[in-house]
Subunit: 255 residues, 2 copies
Amino acid sequence: MEPGSDLAPIEVFPVPGIPEVSKGADLGGLILAGLRRGRLGLEEGDVVVVKQKAVSKSEGRVVRLSEVVPGRRAKRLAKEEGKDARVVELILEESVRVVRSGHGVIITETKHGFVCANSGVDQSNVGEGLAALLPVDPDASARRIRAALEKSTGKTLAVIVTDTFGRPWRRGQTDVAIGCSGISPLVRYKGKKDRFGYELRVTEPAVVDEIAGAAELAVGKLDGVPVAVVRGAKYAPGESGIGSIIMSRKRDLFR
Amino acid sequence: MEPGSDLAPIEVFPVPGIPEVSKGADLGGLILAGLRRGRLGLEEGDVVVVKQKAVSKSEGRVVRLSEVVPGRRAKRLAKEEGKDARVVELILEESVRVVRSGHGVIITETKHGFVCANSGVDQSNVGEGLAALLPVDPDASARRIRAALEKSTGKTLAVIVTDTFGRPWRRGQTDVAIGCSGISPLVRYKGKKDRFGYELRVTEPAVVDEIAGAAELAVGKLDGVPVAVVRGAKYAPGESGIGSIIMSRKRDLFR
């Protein structure tokens, strides 16, 4: 199949050889070096998918738990859910409200508007006694990485920052987009008609989340590979950012 | 990168040339013919992803709305949500309960245990005056297709049947697995440790859903291409079926 045709395949490449990311690291530069090491090039329209943990580390969003003083509310909730009160303090600081808690899980709405476990605060893959927080503005993170990659390659690209979220009713997690640049989060079929003339009223594939999940398939969890390139996905360029995928309170039946 | 290594790419191919599926159609045979037409072969470990609509049509799970007599409850709910009472009757018949309704959407729990809009009842891409229902046993559908493909190719394969689901808190939809064969829905990292020795306690990527989303990226919505092949994804073979991804009522904070 010729590339660019509707029947062109999608390809997802892990980007190898990216070292442990430290505060202030030039993530764009590290990704370019990883691509060179893997003898991979970027092509027009490629989507570069970067795991939140690498972004958070480069932006210094890592907290030493010994420096966190839990408040009364954190202590109470920590006791209820069998968690470290300092971690719960961070979860509460990163949230605007607790949506549900139980079974050792605290589901919050973050300042960005994401509803997820533990406000995205995560102790895995950061080192003992440390916890990573989500980037303050993941769209801005994506924009910075995209600018660096586009400047160096001369290609028009998209960047998605992802995190691993659970979901109600289904076990397990999938990677989803928490920030993006150069790509509209949703594909809009609204108003288009199917082959039988039936208007596709509500179908808006969340292409950033499907790309995030596809990238996770390629990089796995334990490999220390925080970046993948997704090639051949159909998407609309755009700069509306991840906010445009967050459901308004008014329309949300589960808030 | 050599195939099979952790850094091998994922590839997603749409399978072209599958005609409109009718009741009793041999889906396995149609997929094999489509693969031949696209000059595509199946390889060991490939995951064949089939959209629910094609499966439902082949299994005769299409209902003529003129033959549906809505009951009192369906009529009332149809009025509240501005929907066709005959469609609402089907939604209720396919469900064990209504989870939420509002804004013209009826979220139900289906007999399979899925929580989704309209019990999966769908009027798009089926023809005027018709509605498609989910397969009665989508794991069995996946098993049948897998058996046909394995018999013909001599390869060990996996098959996932997918549908397009919305989700709370985020706009847009992603394709997710509603049935599977030859693949365990979740990858279990439980008990494994990260590079820093931190135990990855809760990470179980829902690989069937990430594969479903990746397939959707390749086939889109309007192309009349209901099948894709996902190659290179790491998964555990297994026959636990989709039931093993449904969260138990006991653990579910949103039921």
